[in-house]
Symmetry: C2
Subunit: 331 residues, 2 copies
DNA sequence: ATGAAAGCGCTAACAT
DNA sequence: ATGTTAGCGCTTTCAT
């Protein structure tokens, strides 16, 4: 491919003039014209590797996510990309699948590329692999305390779910979810729910669903819930808080299959606020995470740290969640 | 940051030896040891910009998609990333939002970065902006004929939908979707449906839904369908083919709200085969696109063209779709 | 196996 | 405003 020298020769000017022209600095109008012609003629495209080597200013931000194949991460990725773009950054998308080795290799890659920064939502402790002083902003979880963290208020979300169910005069409350040692945010949701119930003198039961992959366990839970409905005969006063929309969604599908009517017999609240596309929502009642705001806050914070590597102070932001009424509760 | 020269000095060897060591070539074991120590001590990380400048071999593949916030694109992005990674490539994710200017700028960026290749699913004609000889593989659509194209067989999918509905002895068939000049694949779905019906002597009606954003139009369609159900009294023999899962999903939601029972009164087949996550499917009956295979085929083809820029011949692949039974048809 | 040195394409400092 | 030139950090050829 043609390089700047070729263009300079063709346009009968020096490389510096070409460089200046390309970077929007003033050049003689005749020179500009000639350079323009030469660029077209030679199909010249600037080599950013060379530019980066010289300037040390990469346009890339590395975004590490466990998955992109889930409405939550899709939406987050969308907004992150949007805000990065607005600031002139390009996104390198790294899907970690919660694999520690992959996360490590992505951080290394980011450092080798001299990426402008890293944005990560990681459940292992990725942050401990950062050797260089590359700016990093974590989403959801960061335990070392050395990097900025943007998350939503999962604990308050759990409380809110409890409150909404209790407001509906449901006597029988059930939490469906897990106690997962690796997931601070899921633990917080559960704790919020439990604490609110306890503080308001409401009994509740727990249905442990260890992982979303365990179909059998989910079916067991469904069956237990059904037993309870039958034994309560027609009281129809069961309220369920599922720790994620995915769990809620799978649960509801099974309940409906078994002939349970929702929300008449059982009311369900999920967590996350899944939107399948910008225009398609599930009809699930849910605690909605402020995904757009998480993305915006994280990107802005990262930008701050990129622009001001020394002085920018680390942030710890917890954003509020909200209840979104759907058709799985009686509102 | 420390560079190779620093490491060489620290390890008392030449830069060439350091370079060899890093790239896995044979070095004296004592030298290796010293270099290893020096790297650790100085926190050395190789600068890939310099490496790329010299070798002209980028690890980046640029992936241009209209959206990532949709189950279809999420899943596609997941698989594309997976296969790229398997071959040692990194993905630069570019969301175009169907914006022509953005697409153009992404292609330019890819060329400036000397990216290894471009993978694109574009509805404008992105391919005409490619100045350099960077390999490009298109997904879904490519009209210039100069690049490889991987798509699924939308026309056969439309036929399949018609066949499935006709097999259920449904007298009243309705196509809900659009004739969109810019979307070859949507047109093909419709044409397949129409042709199959016509060839089998089945009447059908069209309900134009111009865009998924037009809620009002969708409601109109729903109301028309409801009128038809009422006027047909209890025949309960309506079958709908919606041109995307999104349309089908929104439609069903409205129908249920109006008290229509699905699939007893109306049977619906969508198109795409949305999976919300690897474990969460909609209960929609649908024509499923072979998303994983599309990704795999596209990545392999791109790799072929990257490895063999001159000789690799362009591919035109059309992958088969399949019917996936859900709970919106009586099976 | 190792070292010296050229050079990838660009930017920026400096001189004019 | 323009030209000359050093040098960013690496790989690779060539000589040893």
């Amino acid at each position: 491919m043609a390089n700047m020298k070729d263009v300079a020769r063709e346009a009968k000017v020096s490389v510096a003039t070409v460089s200046n022209y390309i970077n929007g600095k003033k050049v003689r109008s005749e020179a500009a014209k000639n350079i323009e012609v030469a660029i077209k003629k030679l199909n010249y495209v600037r080599n950013n590797a060379a530019r980066l080597l010289k300037t040390d200013q990469s346009p890339f931000v590395v975004f590490v996510v466990p998955s992109v194949w889930s409405p939550f991460f899709s939406e987050l990725t969308f907004w992150v990309q949007k805000y990065l773009n607005k600031l002139g950054f390009k996104m390198v998308l790294c899907i970690s699948e919660n694999d520690y080795e992959k996360e490590k290799s992505y951080v290394k890659m980011a450092e080798e590329q001299r990426a402008a920064g890293i944005l990560s939502i990681s459940y292992s402790d990725l942050t401990s692999h950062v050797l260089s002083d590359i700016p990093l902003v974590a989403i959801e979880k960061e335990t070392t305390g050395q990097f900025s963290l943007i998350s939503s208020d999962n604990y308050a979300g759990g409380q809110l779910a409890a409150k909404e169910l209790i407001n509906r005069n449901l006597e029988h409350l059930i939490f469906v979810g897990s106690t997962n040692y690796e997931s601070v945010e899921l633990n917080a949701r559960k704790a919020g729910f439990e604490d609110f119930c306890n503080n308001h003198g409401h009994k509740f039961e727990l249905e442990e669903v260890k992982t979303r992959y365990d179909k059998k366990q989910l079916l067991d839970s469904v069956n237990k819930i059904i037993e309870r409905i039958i034994s309560e005969s027609k009281k129809q006063n069961i309220g369920i808080f599922a720790h994620t929309d995915e769990t809620a969604f799978l649960l509801i599908k099974e309940l409906i299959k078994k002939g349970i009517r929702i929300p008449e017999q059982v009311q369900v609240i999920g967590f996350d606020g899944w939107n399948l596309t910008p225009n398609t929502k599930l009809s699930l009642s849910t605690i909605r995470q402020p995904i757009k705001e998480i993305a915006e806050t994280a990107v802005k914070q990262l930008n701050k740290e990129i622009k001001n590597p020394k002085e920018a102070e680390k942030a710890r932001v917890m954003l509020p969640v909200s209840y979104r009424a759907g058709e799985t509760t009686i509102n």
